[in-house]
Amino acid sequence: MHTLDKKILNDLWGMRGQAFAIMLIIGIGVAVFVMALGTVDSLESTRQTYYQRYHFADIFMSVRRAPETLVPRLNTIPGVQQVSTGIAHNVVLDIAGIDEPVNGLVVSAPEHGAASLNNLHIRKGRMVRSKATDEIVVTESFANANRLVPGSFFHATLKGQRRKMVVVGIALSPEYVFFSVPGTLAPDDRRFGVLWMDRAVLAEVFDLDGAFNNIALNLQPNASESNVIQQLNRMLLNYGGVDAYGRSDHMSHATLSGEIAQLSASIHIAAPIFLGVIAFLINMLMLRYVETERQHIGVLKAFGYSNVQIAWHYGKFVLLIVTAGVAIGIAFGIWLGRSVTEMYAAHYHFPFLDYVLSPVVLIEAVVTYGLAGALGAFGNVRRAARLEPAVAMRPALPPVYQSNRIETVGLWLALDQPTHMMLRHIFRWPGRSAMTLLGIAAAMSTFIVPFGVSGSVGHMIDTHFFQAERQDLTVSFAQERHSNALIDLVSYPGILHAEGFRAVLAKLRAGNKARRITILGRRPGTTLTRPLDKSSKPMLLPEKGVCLSASLAKWLGVGVGDIVELEFLQGRRLTRMIPVTAITASYLGMTFFTLNMDLATLNELMIEGDVISGANLKIDPTEKLNLYNKLKQTPSITGVISHTASLATMRRLLQETLKMTVVNGFFAATIIFGVIYNNARISFTERRNEFATMLMLGYGRFEIFYIVLSELALLTLMATPLGCIGGYGLSWLLTEGTANEIFRIPLHLSIDAFGIALLFTFGSVALSSLAILHLIARLDIVNVLKTNE
């Protein structure tokens, strides 16, 4: 080994504490980068393979009833490759162990032997046998949540008939990776399941012999999706066709895409912060290193080493740290990426996992973190290379200080000399102090972010369940009923109060933009469910016009007073122009897709009587079992959502988020400590001579400690407002930046997040100060003062 290389290793060992801290931060940064991008790539690749292998359709549509004889005609639509028809119906299930009715979507199983779309991957058991009236295959998530295995059974009410259903298989489907009951915030695997039955059996139950109510299509390569959708809509209009849609409107696909995009976006926000902090830390380390190396640089140059050789020598120092950090990060990131991808794959119930880590990701990690290191090192390495040997061999001249403006303030004279030293040190290097301040602020911001994210989720849950949707149960009817049905409903055991609503599918258009949405018609002044205004306060429904969520209004580019076009996809399929009369709060996807309207106005626009499609209920908890039994046996009710159960599911989800908060908080705490400790260490080393002089003059070690601590505390204090603003901004970026038009969690940062960040930041100051106190206690006055000579 070259002698100079040995020197580098010795120097590195001498600064092992700081070097290790920086290495660790680089490691964490690279690991998170590799993990996130690796996971994104793997999930996308797995999803794509899954879709291809199991023939996930491109276009979906429901109809009321269409004859099978239409299929050959549908096949002739230009661009269509394959058509697959089926039957799908909402049902209510009665599962032992669950009091409340469970929602099910019963779907005809892909037919034997036929090349069909949206095929199943059987995990356990087998497919249903032809004509088997009681056999079903269920989704794995539903089976796991309810501990169903082949051989288990439960009851279901199919068109008024209570039937025993025996599970014969457990399956996965690309169509139902992610699926929830409309009207719930998150999937609840226990209370919602997809069941596949033999098609002939279903056709008989639902009176769809030789007909279908569900259709899926695959497109030929390069076919136009919108053209096919247009033709399909036209051909199926007379069969009660409800507007065909592509993958982007498919709930499972859209949710999955949204989550993958969110993961990808969050890393693109986090990475620049890591890179900035790393460049800053390396800059600080090198500043100190080159300063202490001055005389060695002089000697090396006097011996004939060139500027380039000197630059390379000190460059290697940074290279070692960055290389070690990146290597640790890549190894850790690959391991973490695989684990996280496995976690996601299990969460999404993918039948297999295709873990891919593109070399591009690794190259990106090496290049960006290498650049951050180079950026941090550049100025100092250049300074080392440019030092004149004669100048370098002399001890550095003492820094030139001057009075500054703050000294004209009367208070200045009242301060003691250690405080003067501390303040002048800060103002002597305003750039560096500002960098430190920014470093601390940035670290603090990163600490606030995870709390911002989990806090926002928590707040959203509270808003939804305690402000907007306060009912105990929501029931949906098989078809519209007169509002008198409410009178019948309140006669059921345990129902204290019922409020009817009508949900209607419609196409909303403004300018050249259009969306399939659900119009929710309610009577003004309902107390169980209430629309919320933009500041999440309950509001009264305007009598006329529609209320759009803020996100939908923004997407359409409309505001209050603008006219939008509504094409009802049910009933007479009328098209109406109607003004926007209010803007409501938007959170998650649900509010994006829901339009609020006065029930009477809605029915009037559709030229229909006083009808409702479901009701929100307040129930007497002591009577709930009787009520549930009654609901399970009521054929006219095809969906029951328990809001208590939904709340519990959401709370569980929040717990998961909190776990991530702890992990992210740990990373951020490492950054905070790294920045503060490095800064304290450098500030101490730079002023060892001054401190030794003070000890010589009779100052105690705690009085010297005061200078280091107060400087650090003052900079931290000044960084605090910036850190808080930065934390808020970053959280906003993370919630808004990762929000797409559908998924959005409004930012809610509680004061606690700032409190905890402050506690951690000042805790790091205290901890770093203790480390410095230890150094002061070990300061050898004689030796330090001798080195001056």
Partner: protein
């Protein structure tokens, strides 16, 4: 003016069989090999000798910056080697004034503030202004070290050392980094204040000419005192030329 030593002058330091060994891994360096010396109140002593002969080690031990390996240093009857950290700090704070070759001023403080650094913690100090006037820097009080010449910086160091009215002034090569004219000005300041405050002054130098300032000259060689000379003809610093 009292130039000769009175027999009745009280003994300030009493050094008995003082040894100092520095250990660095397997290597032992004997810096002091049994020193016996007494320093009296108001006495001006010059330590002469080659580099590594033990002068600075003795000065550091007397100043409470270093602890002896063996022997005794009594300061007004108290054994310095038994002082704990707190007592040593108080001792430095109240009784010792130190001047180094390289001034060791705090670059971020003005001349006045550098002196105030000491007066703020000493029990009954001179004011920074008085101390700076004593060394002839009354017009440079608000200058930062970087705005002062080497000689001026060293005079600030002198003012800082004597502002606490220390019983002992320890000077380690105070003129080592100065030209002769500037050196003389600094020595004048040291001589003036030590007389005025009746301070016991111990001054290390390589420059034999400076020995003429002393009441006693102590010669060091190889960690031991090789010779002690009483100087019957002390000269004022202004007369020194080198």
């Amino acid at each position: 003016m009292n130039t000769a030593l009175d027999a009745e002058q009280s003994i300030l330091f009493s050094v008995r069989d003082l040894t100092k060994v520095y250990r660095n891994d397997a290597i032992e360096v004997h810096a002091l090999r049994g020193i016996d010396l007494e320093l009296k109140t108001g006495e001006f002593i010059v330590l002469l000798g080659p580099s590594g002969s033990g002068k600075s080690t003795l000065l550091n031990i007397l100043g409470g910056l270093d602890a002896p390996s063996g022997g005794q240093v009594l300061y007004r009857g108290d054994d310095l080697s038994r002082f704990n950290e707190r007592k040593r700090t108080a001792y430095r704070r109240e009784s010792i004034g130190y001047i180094f070759q390289f001034y060791n001023l705090i670059p971020s403080l003005t001349a006045r503030e550098n002196v105030a650094l000491v007066t703020e913690i000493a029990p009954s100090p001179l004011s920074p202004e008085e101390a700076l006037t004593l060394v002839g820097l009354q017009n440079r009080m608000d200058h930062f070290p970087s705005q002062l010449s080497g000689g001026e910086q060293q005079r600030v160091a002198v003012a800082r050392a004597i502002a606490k009215k220390p019983a002992t002034l320890l000077c380690d090569e105070p003129t080592g980094a100065l030209d002769s004219a500037t050196g003389v000005i600094v020595l004048e300041a040291i001589q003036k204040v030590s007389r005025k405050l009746n301070t016991t002054t111990v001054l290390i130098t390589h420059n034999a000419v400076i020995a003429d300032l002393a009441d006693r000259v102590v010669f060091f060689a190889n960690g031991k005192i090789s010779e002690v000379c009483n100087n019957t003809h002390r000269r004022p610093a202004s007369e020194l030329i080198w």
